[in-house]
Symmetry: C2
Subunit: 139 residues, 2 copies
């Protein structure tokens, strides 16, 4: 059985999909990714699909599932490297990649993850500030 | 024909080999890499072989060729993610990966490339200093 390798670069896990995904390979990848996110404490997953000629409903569902799993493990998922023809076919087939962020290439994907993280921290700060304000206001 | 995708991360090109390399795929990868090094001005190439169960003489030669091509284009090549079994087989077969640097994972590979670059700059500086000293010494 083929196994898709997961590369760690700083705070991010990178997966480059190059082989045809079978049910088994897809399940294995989801498991491996979940384990690696927990083991490394990574905050982002980048999935590169440069090599894919077609993204059918099976692959689309796999990407959505990975994004959902990562989300509950506190990691952002970004799909990068989609070919123009793949994007056109996706829209024509009426497939929407639910809950998946996309970026043009790996570098932009990394920027997107970094931006998403800093937004989150700012929101946390605002909540903290609001809480502080309340504490101060109360007698 | 399958084409191995080349990802750009900062100053480095990253290739993850997951498919069986045919003559044609190997040639295409060498061409694509040479073009991308020139187009992007990258200083390093990282080749991930986590997915490979076997590195035979064909793959070994391909890696050596890529390293040589990159070298003349002023880029360092580092092979990362070699499995223990692959390393053992390589030695047993008497294959030496000529001119190829290796590192345990992508992150260490990046460090190796950064270190190799700074060594080079230091040597250049020393040459410059020597030239300066000569110029100063001459009347």
């Amino acid at each position: 059985m083929e196994r898709v390798p997961i590369l760690k670069i700083g705070d991010i896990l990178l997966v480059s999909i190059q082989v045809d995904m079978s049910d088994q390979t897809a399940l294995q990848l989801q498991e491996d990714l979940a384990e690696r996110i927990v083991a490394t404490g990574s905050h982002g997953v980048i999935i590169d699909i440069t090599a894919l000629d077609i993204v059918d409903s099976f692959v689309g569902r796999m990407l959505s599932t990975i994004a959902s799993i990562s989300k509950v493990l506190d990691a952002e998922t970004v799909v990068v490297g989609m070919r123009p023809a793949v994007a056109i076919t996706l829209v024509e087939l009426g497939l929407s990649l639910n809950g998946i962020r996309t970026a043009l290439n790996v570098e932009r994907g990394m920027e997107l993850i970094a931006a998403a993280r800093s937004d989150e921290f700012e929101e946390d700060d605002q909540l903290d500030d609001a809480a502080d304000a309340e504490t101060t206001a109360s007698p």
